[in-house]
Symmetry: C2
Subunit: 225 residues, 2 copies
Amino acid sequence: MKKYAIIVAGGSGTRMGGALPKQFMLLRDRPVLFYTINTFLDCYEDLKLILVLPVDYMEMGREIIDAYFDKDRIQLTAGGDTRFQSVKNGLQYAEEEAIIFVHDGVRCLLTCDLIESCYQQALISGTAIPVITSKDSVRIISDEGNEAIDREKVMLVQTPQTFHGKILIPAFQIDYKDKFTDEATVVEAYGLKVSLVPGREDNIKITKPVDLVIAEKILQDRQPA
Amino acid sequence: MKKYAIIVAGGSGTRMGGALPKQFMLLRDRPVLFYTINTFLDCYEDLKLILVLPVDYMEMGREIIDAYFDKDRIQLTAGGDTRFQSVKNGLQYAEEEAIIFVHDGVRCLLTCDLIESCYQQALISGTAIPVITSKDSVRIISDEGNEAIDREKVMLVQTPQTFHGKILIPAFQIDYKDKFTDEATVVEAYGLKVSLVPGREDNIKITKPVDLVIAEKILQDRQPA
């Protein structure tokens, strides 16, 4: 089946006043986004990648594509004000007869194994959301205060959130709601259940400086420099 | 008010076959446990510390105390098969007219600010459980499958879990149940609600090698070597 990976590189929509967004920071001398893109392109020869960047960073994205990748396999497009709108923009370049991965650009340590297990599950059930359990005890805030919940029942959601195109594309035609924090919530609002698959502890998001140190260590453990 | 800190250094109960437990691994040339103990002792001059170690590691604990601390302020005792039993053993050395902190030995990056905010809350409401929210989307497993939950309502629990002695000591007289994953769940089973206070992102547990790298980075950011 055809495969599309929509890489959402959110963060600051403008260069003004802010630091360099994390997806462009360097990890072993290459931008974080390089690793994300490279893993998807390496994993499947027939996968096409849709890179969604804030409009002010499209030029920087273009430079990364030119430097490292076959530009015929990557469609660059501008994001919107919300993750929902960014993914919706990316979906214009995908087809319904396909499996579509939606992935955080800053989750640069995903592996082909994880992508493949999401793909296989999405083939079977139409959806695949990678999750891990919490390492800490968990409490839920309720109207009466807070209460302990079995931590085995609490799933922390990762990406790539993976869907059959026949589900994801029509689901994104519904109106935006604030509760859409990811694609799974959109698909649920569209009326479907989602399937979970085991994620990976080391499929971390790069959101603060210490995460680059962690990422470096994980890369080193996988393959010494 | 009197203050006791029970430091629970769980992990392997025996030396046979296993690697060195994380609480004894070195961070900036000192055992992880050094930082945990030092922060509590530095934070309050009138605090007494109860260090609960697996029986096979008590000698190693004694060496750390002798090397770095005033041994009159630290009571060393043997742990049990469960965290519940270990804390219960430690509680023998505490009094009811006191605030009692129960803390993971491997959470070595806690700060005096965090201890102090737990103390103040426990003075007011009798309990203080530090928590942080999840950075990832969260799903809850239910009988019908799984569903998204507002991540702002999901609290990941840290330590020091802090209690008035008049609550904690009698609460630990109840019979052990499997659901006792921490002290808050014991106090709830005893019939009380617990108060939450904001934890810290950097109050991490050292549970795998990469965590030592993270801890080193956090220490460096706080105070360059």
